[in-house]
Structures are given as C-alpha cells and as structure tokens.
Amino acid sequence: MQVAVEPPAAIGVPGAPGWRLGVRKRPIKRTVGYGPPVGRPSTEGFGPLEARRRRRRRDSVYAPPSSPFPAPPFSRPRLLSPEPLTPRRSVSEAPSPGHSFLSLSLDWTLPMKCSGQTMEPPEAKRKKARQRRGGAEPDRLSALPDCLLHTIMSSLKARQAVQTCVLSTRWRHLWRSVPCLDIDLDEFKAAPNTNGNAGLLGDHSDSSYESSEEEEDDDHHGVAFKNKE
C-alpha cells in the first residue's frame, strides 16, 4: 500500500514547482526529490546515474561481471566475420529433398489446406479438437455465455449458486450478478457465525427467522455494516 508522503513545505506555496493552476500536484504519485515513479521497484529509476548503470549493463553482455576472465577483445568483431553467413549461401542453391527448408514449407501448407475446405460441422470440429488434446472432454458448460449460466444458476439453491465460484476463475464473480435467487432460510439457519462474519441470514437462527422482506433488507445492511468494521 502506498503511503501518502507530504511534500516539503516549500512546495506547498502556490506558484512553487509543486503547484499548477492553484491545485496541488498529486503528492501521492511522487516521493520527495527525483525518486522512482510509483509502481516501479525502488532500485530502478531515472536520471544520469541510472542511465550510466544501464549503459554498463548493456555493455556487460560481452563481458559479464560474474566471469572471472575479461572477454577477449575480438569477441565482437568476430560476430561480423563471414562465417555465420555460410548456411545462407546454401539456401540459394536448389534444396535437397531431405533439406530442412523443404520440410518447413510442407508444414506451412497445412493451414492453407484447412482453410480451403468447406466449413466443417461444429460437432466434427470439436471431435477433432478433442483428439488433438488427447481425448480430454471439453468444458462445454463454462463456454456458454454469462446470461445462460445465470439462467442455470437461478434454478439452483442460493448457497449452491454461490458455491459455484470455486469451480474455476471463469465462475468466480458470476454468482454476484445472478438475476434471481432461490433462498431457503433453512439452509442458512444451520450456518454458524464464524469469526464475527455473520451468516447471510444467520442472526435469525433461533428467534424470528420467518422474517418479512423488510427485515431481510435490514439484515443485509447489518452484514454490510459489520464488514465495514
């Protein structure tokens, strides 16, 4: 969490560099001086020192500081020698049948062939996809649009609809927007009040849990209030 750092008093004077149009420049975004901007690790930053450090890091590719021996002075020019170019010369010649270049071009024709075919029915397409994945059945349920999943969840009991959030990340927040809930008070009657976190309707467990709509509303406020504390 970012703690707001009050700028020094000098910046607080209107007209000083910290002020623009009479409004204080966001003090939270900037620590005192030319520190790193918010969100970056503090070791990195800008300024001449950092630029020098970066230059050193870039140059050290050829002479890593961890290596006990300095890099040979010819290491860079040698990269420019014609040696690495030799394989390229063979490309201009006719490729032999077993040449890797040929097999590469064969691979590339594959997607072309698929796109040239007429559209496959979705069932066949799915079956093929399944075979590629090694026989694992696809997750058809999570692939449905949110509104359909909401319809499905609406017929579940409220607690089970909420429990679907642990199925996978796709389901995490779906229950929050389900249009209608099937709330069974008996379900929540059994809920214990764990560490001060009141059950949804758990407060009414012994006395008047046959509450009217109005009372239920009050209860929700109560939960919200408790959570704020």
Binding site: P122, L141, S154, L156, L167, S168, N197, G199
Partner: protein, 186 residues
C-alpha cells in the same frame, strides 16, 4: 393480350402459393435440410420469426451456419412436438421478459425430450436455442443442466462438466474464507 393475362395470373397464384407455404426449410452447417412448420418456427424462435417477417427465408434452405445437423434435428424435433402439444397461455407470456418471468416447470414430454440427449447434444441444443432465440427451449435445457448440478459439491460438478480448476491453493482458501457462510459444511 389474353396470353399475357394468363401469365400474370399464373405468376400471381405462384406467389400466393409461396406466401402460403406453411413450412420453412432450414439448412444446417453441414448442408442437411430440415423442414419445420412456419407457424411453430415463428412462435418458438424470435430469430426465425424475424426472418419470416422480414422475408429473408430462402426456399432452398435458410442457411444456419452456426448449427450442426444433430442440433438442428433436435430443434426441429422440438418444434414439431411443441406444435402437437397445446401451448399454454403462460408459455406465450413468458417470452416477454426472459430473465424475470417465473420459470414454468418443464412438461412431461419436454423432460423426456431433454433426458434422452447426450451430454454434447444437450450443449449443442443449448447453443442452437440461444442462437435462434428459442426461449422456452433454452429454459428447458438450462433447467436440465441445473438439475445435473443440483446437490453436487463443486468437485463433483467439475467432474461432470470437465471444468478445469485453474485456481491456486491460496486463491481457493481466500475465497472460502471470504464466503465462509456459503461453505460452512465442508
């Protein structure tokens, strides 16, 4: 002059016959043709109703590229069966507001209709019904899916629907603590 008049008449009768044709031909993604009564199609599917009203129905088969032949066969089957059963008033009014209208329990034949479907066919049918805007069929199939989920633990649901758990252990623990009131018994 006489001949011309005869021609015009013939054309007119042909047009009338076309308009009066009481079936719609639908073509699945793999080119199979299915016929369904115009009345049932217009009543059950908002998309087909719009197409019929807008005159974009092709006599040689209206292309439905999103729907495979198996799913379309089920859709047509459902339309035909529905045409035979007596539609209730509640059914027609339920199409007005999809999400808020109280769900009417599936009738016996609808239950049988979805029960005989395989797992994949059921989801194909859901997708087809969603594409065609067939709200009643969508309700019935979604109800079937939720029945498959009912009373099962998250682990069991994952197994039935092949849902891959992509949470980390820490995330799962966090959710369970946050929603402790929903997970008190496990």
């Amino acid at each position: 002059m006489e001949v011309d008049k005869g021609k015009g008449e013939a054309e007119e009768t042909r047009k009338v016959a076309e308009a009066d044709r009481d079936t719609v031909t639908l073509k699945s993604s793999d080119g199979k043709l299915f016929e369904v009564s115009k009345e049932a199609a217009a009543r059950l599917s908002t998309v087909l109703a719009g197409m019929i009203a807008g005159g974009s129905i092709d006599d040689n088969g209206t292309d439905l590229k999103q729907i495979g032949s198996e799913a379309l066969e089920n859709v047509v089957d459902y339309c035909n069966k529905h045409a035979n059963s007596i539609p209730s008033a509640a059914l027609i009014s339920s199409s007005i507001s999809f999400n808020t209208a109280p769900f009417k329990e599936p009738e016996e034949w609808e239950r049988k209709f979805v029960d005989r479907l395989s797992h994949d066919a059921l989801f194909d049918l859901v997708e087809a019904a969603n594409f065609l805007g067939m709200e009643r069929l969508l309700d019935v199939t979604c109800h079937k899916i939720s029945e498959m989920m009912k009373g099962k633990s998250p682990d069991q649901i994952r197994e039935v629907f092949n849902i891959k758990n992509d949470y980390t252990k820490e995330e799962l623990e966090e959710i369970r603590q946050e929603l402790a009131w929903a997970f008190y018994d496990d």
